[in-house]
Amino acid sequence: MAVTGILLMLFLIAHMLGNLKIFTGETAFDHYGHWLRDVGTPLLPSTWFLWIQRIALLVAVLGHIAAATVLALRARAARPVRYAHRKPVRGSYAARTMRWGGVIILLFVIYHILDLTTGHLNPQGDSSNPYGNVVADFAPERWYVTLFYTLAIVALGFHLRHGAFSAFRSLGQQTPRGERRARAAALVFAVALCAGYLAVPFAVLTGLVA
């Protein structure tokens, strides 16, 4: 869980920084979008590096889901008779919603790829103009897309808040002071990532990016 999770977190950081380039203008953002396909050239043929990244991410996602499934199945098997009276988990809301949160994020990622990578669910769907796709996607009249996107990002934030701390712990974070630091770092990371991802749709919604 921890190793695949960290790979995915590194991707999330890179993806967020890329998204924020939208504030540098249409030409720069489109240029960045096209550059993503050419990273690694001339060492590798065009789009090869992109596909290597995609395969690595897919392996990480599948590994992450496989590990989570094993844990969930073990948890179910470990308590065959359920409690008649059970309080909800008090550790944290984030820890309690890891599994369902993960499913929501997976569904969102599928939608997100069909929307802004392949363009099938995008109102513009022009792969040569990613800036236009984003602006068309989060247009004020498509408020429900922005709402769904926001909910998914908030779910991601909760997932990261527990996930980042849990990754530190799984990899051997062991002192009480370190635990406080790890929890604080996970919270800051989750909030920063949420803010970075939500900046784009709300900038489009308010007309800051048009």
């Binding site: 948890a75 308590r79 008090r90």
Partner: protein
């Protein structure tokens, strides 16, 4: 105080159990939770019914025998307290209290509220000891131990093995118990020779017993009557990573 109790009744390991409602009147707020159950059992015995079976021994909060899920809380609503040290003043007059046994595949119900915690013994047998003969208690300063290590080891050694961590864990994991029994040794000089075979053996025994995996949810440490901290599991994780990187060896050898 007058209370309504809903108690899990199960005649034997293979029988089907159910929640049965009892009325207990004239309960003193100064009674412990187990004394309140004693009052109920006396009444049941007098009326020719089967008394409710529950585990208990020292009733001082140090033996680890008692363990009840009270209204969905392992050992009841008061933190850092075993069921025997919980007083009825924590409840209000007229309240309905649900009492269930620990629920885990590794802890099968023997009767009513009594579960078999033999799985914990298997974890200990897989490495929760040192093989060097230690003789009688050595002089306190014969083997120097850093104060911070001694404190952390002592904190882990406070574990009474009651099983509340397993009962509360959303995954049914016994990792807090395993980690406590591991770190009380791995932090001290006497525990070093078998440090890395111990962790592999104990974690394997934990998994074989049918406990779930830890997801760092932190429920265990909330209900632990001895306040074993969650970072104890981090110490276990670090030892486990080191042991697997080193290639371990045979547990106990």
């Amino acid at each position: 105080m007058n209370l309504t109790l809903r108690i899990w009744r199960q005649p034997g390991p293979e029988d089907k159990g159910r929640m049965v409602t009892y009325q207990v009147d004239d309960v003193s707020p100064d009674m412990s939770f187990l004394e309140m159950l004693d009052v109920l059992n006396e009444r049941l015995t007098l009326s020719g019914e089967e008394p409710v079976a529950f585990d208990h021994d020292c009733r001082e909060g140090i033996c680890g025998m008692c363990g009840l899920m009270i209204n969905g809380d392992a050992h009841g609503p008061q933190r850092g307290t075993t069921a025997c040290q919980l007083h009825m003043r924590q409840f209000s007059d007229g309240e309905t209290i649900d009492i269930e046994p620990w629920r885990a595949r590794a802890f099968p119900v023997i009767k009513d509220l009594v579960v078999n915690r033999g799985a914990f013994d298997k974890i200990i047998a897989a490495g929760g000891y040192i093989t060097a003969p230690t003789g009688s208690a050595p002089d306190a300063h014969a083997t120097p131990v850093a104060k911070a290590d001694a404190d952390a080891a002592f904190e882990s050694a406070a574990c009474i093995g009651c099983g509340a961590c397993v009962a509360a864990c959303p995954n049914g994991s016994g990792m807090l118990f395993t980690a406590a029994k591991l770190t009380q040794l791995s932090l001290l000089p006497q525990g070093q020779p078998e440090r890395y075979t111990r962790v592999i053996g104990m974690v394997d025994a934990h998994d074989e017993a049918g406990f779930g995996g830890c997801t760092n949810a932190g429920e265990c440490t909330v209900v632990c009557p001895k306040g074993i901290p969650l970072n104890t599991i981090g110490r276990l994780n670090r030892d486990y990573l080191t042991a697997t990187a080193k290639g371990g060896g045979t547990p106990g050898s």
